[in-house]
């Protein structure tokens, strides 16, 4: 069987899974889980098999639905085109789906109406997978619509809580506005170019912008930005990620907002190729920088585990957008790498939050504490995730953030634009604040004192731990062997984004691009020479072992290590309370970072006012931002 059918089969498997769940899985839990697992395994396997031909051999798969190939230079049928960029995101999607499906088996076992869960889950998965592989703008819109509405359903899945329904409503309103912008943009585009095929659009629009296409660009840009939840469109994301089941929060942050990011990259790099313009770069980087800063500062103020993670998702997407908006090969690699890492570590963190929620029944950081004694494996996974997202070496977050800084500063020094220098500074500061808010979670939920209420909490079951372990390993692995990741995943994807003519030619036939006057931009190889995590890690392990043996384990001249196994409440092993009898006293999340919060009081007050929770306000932000993008486009794009 030829692999060119694989993308379509992968998408269809997921949709068929949804259908079969309705037909066969209504009454049997086993069948439901099996269908979901089987469908995600099959699509994972199919996409994974594409790595060799696409990523390594550099082939681009094009596939015309019903064999409706282009006629006399016009693409009429729906085309699927899987280039390296699309496959890169498709890999993220299928990995997320598979792990989430495994996690869901135990995670939602106590919920009612699980058949709806799996139906929506599989449809969501199928739509996102379709979105990143399609070559047709309108098909992309359809997928976005399916994605939005299934996401709304999943957000409100646990509809016993008021918040879930409210979040679903907000998601619905903002998502619909975003979809409408996209649709409007597509309509304008179709009216102008009489085609919906991306490759053909790209060829027609290359260096050939009219006011109508600029309008279309602005609207589509806004619509996709809404889907990637960058500020100021982030408002429904915070609620949705918080109230959705954690397996779904992971899917949301792992692939749903990546779909938006993918759409934006496709839009500015391939379809319109506007990213070469400094003004577009400024626009995207501005959006990205504001997003990462507001996301992280809002996260610092949260005291709900999942809500905090939600705001971090927003902040990390800011990094991705910023890096991708730099329009350098280093920048795009950094952005894609960070997108991938974000899928891994944020998925891991959401799964940890889910494990905590399942075991303790709450994600409120003020009510948790000391879980590391009861849930050591979850704690370990959480620490890996937290260090990854905070960018501590040698985890993957460090590698990608390091590339982001390098890219941003390279842009700054080569263009001489001090704006990008301050973008770099902001990125570093945001990274430190990310660390701060994860220290907050670490202290509030996993370390500190165990409240009596949580004294007999149980560790998450093995089936939930398995995806967490896999993701932890991936976080460490991609951090250490980042050069391999670059070589096999990032570099082909970046090259695909910069060589537009390949994309067009493969879809529309050889020579089409040349005829339309499309020129490829030379993408230089990024250089990273100074940081070799393998050497570093080897060193670290050697010195760590030596020091650990000397300090902790050796007997002899040193004083003994005494630890209390019996668990006496008082005496030598009690916590020091200035002489008082040790009381259950836990420094919870909202008690931390007092000095910082005091100094930023005014800022937080403004932010609190802006995040009013009223959906009318949020809709207004979307429309206002759309207006800004339109005005910006007409004022500066040339």
């Amino acid at each position: 069987m030829s692999y060119i059918h694989f993308p379509v089969i992968a998408v269809m498997t997921l949709f068929m899974g949804a259908f079969l769940t309705v037909v066969l899985g209504r009454h049997s839990k086993g069948v439901r889980s099996f269908i979901a697992l089987a469908a995600s395994c099959v699509s994972f396997a199919l996409i994974a098999m594409l790595v060799k031909p696409v990523m390594i051999d550099g082939e681009i798969i094009s596939y015309w639905m019903g064999n409706w190939a282009p006629m006399s230079g016009y693409a009429i049928g729906i085309g699927y085109e899987v280039d390296q960029l699309g496959l890169f995101f498709a890999l993220l999607v299928v990995t997320t789906i598979l792990l989430s499906a495994v996690y869901s088996i135990r995670y939602i076992e106590k919920d009612s109406s699980q058949d709806f869960y799996y139906v929506l889950f599989l449809m969501l998965s199928g739509s996102v997978l379709g979105l990143v592989m399609t070559g047709d703008v309108f098909n992309m819109f359809i997928m976005i619509e399916i994605m939005t509405f299934t996401a709304v359903g999943l957000t409100a899945f646990r509809n016993t809580s008021f918040g879930a329904v409210e979040a679903g409503f907000k998601y619905l309103v903002i998502g619909s506005i975003g979809s409408s912008f996209t649709l409007f943009g597509i309509a304008v585009l179709y009216g102008q170019c009489h085609t919906l095929n991306m490759a053909q659009l790209s060829a027609m629009l290359y260096g050939n912008h009219s006011p109508a296409t600029l309008m279309a660009f602005a609207l589509m840009f806004t619509g996709l930005a809404v889907k990637s939840y960058i500020v100021p469109f982030h408002t429904p994301a915070a609620d949705a990620y918080t109230t959705a089941p954690s397996s779904i929060s992971m899917v949301f942050s792992g692939m749903v907002n990546k779909a938006g990011v993918y759409g934006m990259i496709r839009l500015v790099y391939i379809i319109f190729r506007t990213v070469d313009m400094p003004s577009v770069q400024t626009l995207i980087v501005l959006f990205g920088t504001v997003t990462m800063f507001i996301g992280v500062t809002m996260a610092l103020a949260q005291h709900d585990f999942k809500r905090l993670l939600a705001f971090h998702s927003i902040s990390q997407i800011g990094y991705v957008i910023t890096a991708a908006g730099l329009c350098t090969s280093l920048g795009l690699s950094a952005g894609l790498f960070h997108a991938m890492n974000h899928t891994l570590f944020k998925g891991l963190l959401f799964l940890c939050a889910g494990a905590v929620l399942r075991s303790t029944g709450t994600t409120n950081l003020d009510q948790l504490g000391g879980l590391s004694k009861r849930m050591p494996k979850t704690t370990l996974c959480f620490l890996v995730g937290a260090f990854s997202i905070s960018g501590l070496p040698p985890f993957n977050g460090f590698a990608s953030k390091w590339l982001v800084y390098q890219a941003a500063y390279e842009k700054a020094v080569t263009t001489g634009n001090i704006f990008y220098a301050f973008v770099t500074v902001t990125a570093v500061v945001v990274s430190v604040m990310t660390l701060a808010s994860f220290i907050k979670v670490t202290q509030a939920a996993f370390f500190g004192q165990l409240p009596a209420r949580l004294a007999d909490v149980e560790e998450a079951p093995g089936l939930m731990l398995l995806p967490m372990y896999i993701m932890s390993l991936l976080c460490v692995g991609t951090g250490i062997f980042y050069d391999k990741v670059y070589q096999y995943l990032l570099d082909p994807a970046v090259r695909a984004a910069f060589t537009v003519s390949n994309y067009i030619d493969r879809m529309m036939g050889d020579g089409y691009a040349e005829a339309a006057g499309v020129e490829d931009v030379f993408a230089s190889n990024p250089h990273f020479s100074y940081w070799n995590p393998v050497i570093w890690l080897a060193l670290f392990v050697i010195v760590f072992c030596a020091a650990y043996i000397c300090v902790v384990t050796s007997k002899g001249s040193r004083g003994q290590i005494l630890s209390d196994e019996g668990g006496a409440e008082d005496g030598k092993y009690a916590t020091f309370f200035s002489g008082e009898k040790a009381l259950p006293s836990h420094v919870a999340g909202s008690d931390l970072f007092w000095g910082f919060k005091t100094d930023w009081k005014g800022y937080f007050r403004v932010m609190e006012g802006l995040h009013s929770g009223i959906v009318n306000d949020y809709a207004l932000y979307v429309v206002a931002a759309a207006a800004f993008v339109v005005v910006f486009t007409f004022a500066f794009l040339r």
Binding site: V413, V429, Y530, G559, T575, F593, G595
Partner: protein, 329 residues
């Protein structure tokens, strides 16, 4: 990499003796002793002997290590060692002027992130001890970290811009080489504000008074270190001393990188030894200016004032430098 016996021994020598573990530990404790002596002298006291940090370290090794009931034992005991390891590894990345363990290494951003490892180790260790005082301590430590990270990155970017011009230059080795031919960065007027800012960043990074809000022993009982005793505490104290050397060495490389003697007497072991001596001397001066002097003449900050101070005064100085450098001064 050549895995011959001599090569392996050389690498081992570099890691364990010079410029790795032993060198950093010895010089770090030496600088800590000098700092204590100088502070005492400025306060009109005799002060402890220069060997005092050694005594403290050895004594703590000989004490019992109590793991409190509320602590997570594994993390609690591993945290100081992780911090120590991070510092030793970092020391390998900081060249002694022209001489570095891994040739061409020393990316500034990597250093910036490696520097957070000891602080994170302290925070995680304190957090794992389960004490509420430690909770307050780690909160302050983290705010301190947020405070100094902003000026530090601006300083590093200014230096990178000055040295690299319109090319990306984050290599410490390259910065040192540039200074060898163009004169020390300390004598370039545009970078003088950055240098002052760096002098103020060092004490916060190391955690000496008046920026030791995290370990304020009189208010929150040593903060994150409250439950530590014995060998792990000894390692934490050692970490502080090593950080002193690493930060001052980083400063020396950034702003006085051009005083290497290799060009005068020719590269070789004598030059490296002489360079090391010069470096330690500069480190002593920097220790005096940035840590001892400020310690002796000021009282401890409040945490919110510390944050404000770093984000306005120090970051302002650094940003001034960045702007000056950017527009070609």
């Amino acid at each position: 990499m050549n895995f011959s016996l001599i090569g392996a021994l050389q690498i081992l020598f570099k890691i364990l003796i010079f410029p790795g573990l032993l060198f950093v530990v010895v010089i770090g404790l030496f600088l800590a002793g000098i700092d204590r002596k100088l502070v005492a002298r400025m306060q009109k006291r005799v002060g402890p002997p220069l060997r005092q940090p050694w005594f403290d370290f050895l004594k703590l090794l000989g004490k019992e290590t109590i793991v409190p009931h509320a602590a997570n034992k594994a993390v609690y005991l591993a945290a100081p060692v992780i911090g120590f390891t991070g510092l030793v590894v970092m020391a390998l990345f900081i060249p002694v002027f022209g001489y570095s363990t891994f040739s061409g290494n020393g990316d500034l951003i990597v250093l910036l992130y490696l520097l957070t490892i000891p602080a994170v180790a302290l925070i995680i260790g304190g957090s794992a001890s389960g004490s509420p005082y430690a909770g307050i301590g780690i909160s302050r430590e983290m705010v301190t970290m947020m405070s100094y990270e902003l000026p530090l990155i601006i300083i590093l970017l200014s230096v990178a811009r000055k040295v690299g011009g319109s090319a990306l230059c984050f290599s410490l080795g390259q910065i040192v080489n540039w200074q060898a031919s163009n004169g020390c960065l300390a004598f370039h007027p545009a970078l003088i504000p950055a240098m002052l800012a760096m002098l103020l960043v060092i004490p916060a990074e190391v955690g000496t008074q008046p920026f030791d809000v995290a370990e304020a022993e009189t208010e929150i009982c040593e903060g994150p270190l409250i439950e530590y005793s014995g060998a792990p505490l000894a390692v934490f104290k050692l970490n502080t001393a090593m950080k002193m050397f690493i930060m001052t060495a980083l400063f020396t490389n950034l702003f006085f990188g051009g005083v290497s003697t290799a060009s005068l007497i020719g590269a070789g072991i004598p030059a490296i030894a002489l360079d090391a001596v010069i470096m330690v001397l500069i480190c002593i001066v920097v220790t005096f200016l940035s840590m001892s002097l400020i310690h002796a003449i000021t009282a401890r900050f409040k945490i919110e004032h510390l944050f404000k101070f770093y984000w306005t005064v120090v970051a302002g100085l650094a940003a001034l430098s960045l702007v000056l450098v950017w527009f070609g001064l």
